[in-house]
Amino acid sequence: MAESNSDRFPVVIDGLVKSYRKNAPPAVNLGERVEIGRGELFGIIGPDGAGKTTLFRMLATLVTPDSGTAFIEGTDIRSGYRKIRTLLGYMPGRFSLYPDLSVRENLDFFASVFGKDIDENYSLIGGIYDRLKPFEKRKAGKLSGGMKQKLALCCSLIHSPSVLLLDEPTTGVDPSSRRELWENLAGLKESGMTIIVSTAYMDEADRCDRVAMMKSGRFLTIDSPEDIISKFGKRLLAVRSDEMFRLLRDLRSMDTVSRCYTFGDSHHIVLKQGAGVTAGSIARELTERFSHTGVEVREAEATLEDCYMNLEEK
């Protein structure tokens, strides 16, 4: 690693592989080299079991990779993990703090673990912690899910890390708290912090600078959300009828449809390349051949989720 390069890219992932059992496919199997720039908000999206947590643990130096490596601020995660541990902020997915300690005691503890005072870096967490201030004396176990996540974020920020790893920070948090969390992350990013965040919610990924879509331990694609969507390049229709469940089966039996999946309150269908059908002809076929009632078919804009669903086929 050249010094100048590590200044620009605080996190470099270089072909990390990790498998937990000999005969099972590896939990993480990244062939490529990924460079994450300073002040970048890098999202990793993928379903449960995609290997997100294992990847985070490797980056956090908790799990040693089988092969490949990664560099945090130019330090190899294999050899320099002691040094890396002073630079990292890490918030594991199921991190629950200490439920029997108060909000303030939790924060105090994590600050002193890193040899810091709360006041030293208060500016960093101030925006988040001000919301928790009225509950300072409350036990962390008695906080709501959103509050807990805020406190956990404060605890992983209190030592002013240069790289922040957040493993599914929004799982089990209500929508308004989720939005707040993403706003907080945007603020931290402005201060030059490099943030890697994983989530299973596709709608959140729009807020990232770049998104890596992960499945079965691999990155399927890495790009900005806009580019991922613009590269979708297939025709997408949203279909509804009075019998949604039968509709799904019927749509899947149609020749012109390459993929069909539920999306919100309708089904999204991806048309096969060169299939000469329109929304109208699909609607007609559903009404006449499958005798559906209340059929409604319209062209749809692709979202990240559509991109993700269609990436899986590769």
């Binding site: 937990y20 643990r57 956090a60 130096t61 908790l62 799990v63 040693t64 002691r82 541990r85 002073t86 990292l88 890490y90 918030m91 594991p92 997915g93 199921r94 991190f95 629950s96 703090l97 200490y98 029997d100 300690l101 005691e105 105090d108 503890f109 994590f110 002193s112 673990v113 890193f114 040899g115 605890c155 992983s156």
Partner: protein, 375 residues
């Protein structure tokens, strides 16, 4: 160092916040000491004694008065017939009875001697054999001392002296069971607090995921574990003092030997138990497994193989070898020697050395096993 004290402070907070566990930690030894000291005892007490005598002999009456005065027996009355005695024993009014033959006193001075039958309700064989032992002891005492003194006064002393066994119960002349149980309870409780509580509290951090965050911090992981031990060391010391105070002032078991060495041996044992807790915590991932391992692999053998309940010497040989690796066995032996027998410390050197060696081995293994990563 500041990081370290933050950890210690946090652990103390955990312990003090969890009032119920703390109460159990302090209350359990107290309850056990009181239970074993008073309620569960292998001593016999309040045994009802009946009498079946053909004629009212003053010496027999005196004997019964003597028996009644003892703290073990209560004289409930004389029966006229064997049937009456039998009936009373069946009803549970009488646990033991003495049966004197006709003309007991006069036949006492005959060459054949006199017979007295000691009859006990042997439903509980342990109690029965103790009752027989106590009763026959009292009878022979009575005839040896009281009658003989009266007889010599009357110049009617029998010509030949009899061989009388002279039994002495050393170190525990009253055969108090607390002398046996106190070191055992100390061995049990200290192991419970140190090994179980330490391992569970370390494993809890693994289970809740906070260990991941702690590991990804500049604190040396071994300090995390040492910091966990300090509060439990303090709690164990408090419990130790509690047990000793109860033992000395409530159970009235005197500390015969050196107080200093007794405390020192206990501290070595506490440290050893903390090491065991730490070793267990490095091997398991869940609290329930940690609890089971400490409970099954450490507490049960402490009960069985430490000589607390069953003497090790009477076990089959392989089990005797096994007993040698039980730390509590050596601790209990050392405490018995110092506390009850008052042995000078040079005769306890072996136990102390073995406990120290065990502590060193366990700690070395735990530190070697301790992983500052997750896999």
């Amino acid at each position: 160092m500041r990081e370290f004290f933050a950890f210690v402070r946090k652990e103390f907070l955990h312990i003090f916040r969890d009032k119920r566990t703390l109460l159990v930690l302090i209350g359990l030894p107290t309850a056990l000491i009181v239970l074993f000291g008073f309620a569960i005892s292998t001593e016999i007490r309040n045994v009802n004694v009946g009498l079946l005598s053909a004629d009212d002999d003053v010496y027999v009456t005196r004997l019964m008065e003597k028996i009644d005065r003892s703290e073990y027996f209560t004289y409930v009355g004389a029966f006229r017939s064997e049937a009456g005695l039998d009936e009373a024993m069946r009803r549970g009014q009488v646990d033991a009875a003495l049966i004197f033959g006709k003309d007991f006193m006069s036949s006492l001075y005959s060459p054949e001697g006199a017979d007295v039958a000691v009859v006990v309700d042997a439903v509980n064989p342990n109690n029965a054999s103790m009752e027989v032992m106590y009763l026959s002891g009292m009878i022979s005492d009575y005839f040896k001392d009281d009658i003989v003194s009266m007889a010599s006064y009357r110049q009617q002393m029998p010509a030949t002296g009899r061989l009388t066994p002279n039994l002495r119960m050393l170190y525990n002349p009253q055969l108090k069971s607390s002398y046996n149980f106190v070191p055992g309870i100390m061995g049990l409780i200290l192991m419970l607090i140190c090994a179980l509580m330490t391992s569970v509290s370390i494993v809890r951090e693994k289970e809740t995921g906070s260990m991941e965050v702690l590991l990804v911090s500049p604190v040396r992981p071994i300090n995390i574990v040492i910091a966990k031990m300090i509060p439990y060391f303090v709690v164990a010391c408090v419990v130790l003092v509690n047990i000793l105070l109860l033992t000395i002032f409530v159970l009235k078991v005197p500390v015969a030997g050196s107080f200093f060495w007794m405390i020192l041996v206990s501290v070595i044992y506490i440290i050893l138990s903390l090491g065991i807790g730490m070793l267990v915590s490095t091997l398991v991932r869940t609290q329930i497994i940690a609890t089971l391992i400490c409970g099954m692999i450490f507490l049960v053998p402490v009960m069985m193989f430490s000589g607390m309940l069953y003497p090790i010497e009477s076990m089959p040989e392989p089990l005797q070898w096994f007993a040698q690796i039980i730390p509590a066995k050596w601790f209990i032996e050392a405490i018995r020697k110092i506390m009850i027998e008052g042995t000078p410390v040079r005769y306890v050197t072996k136990e102390i050395l073995i406990l120290t060696a065990m502590a060193v081995v366990v700690f070395t293994a735990a530190v070697a096993k301790f992983n500052d990563k997750l896999d």
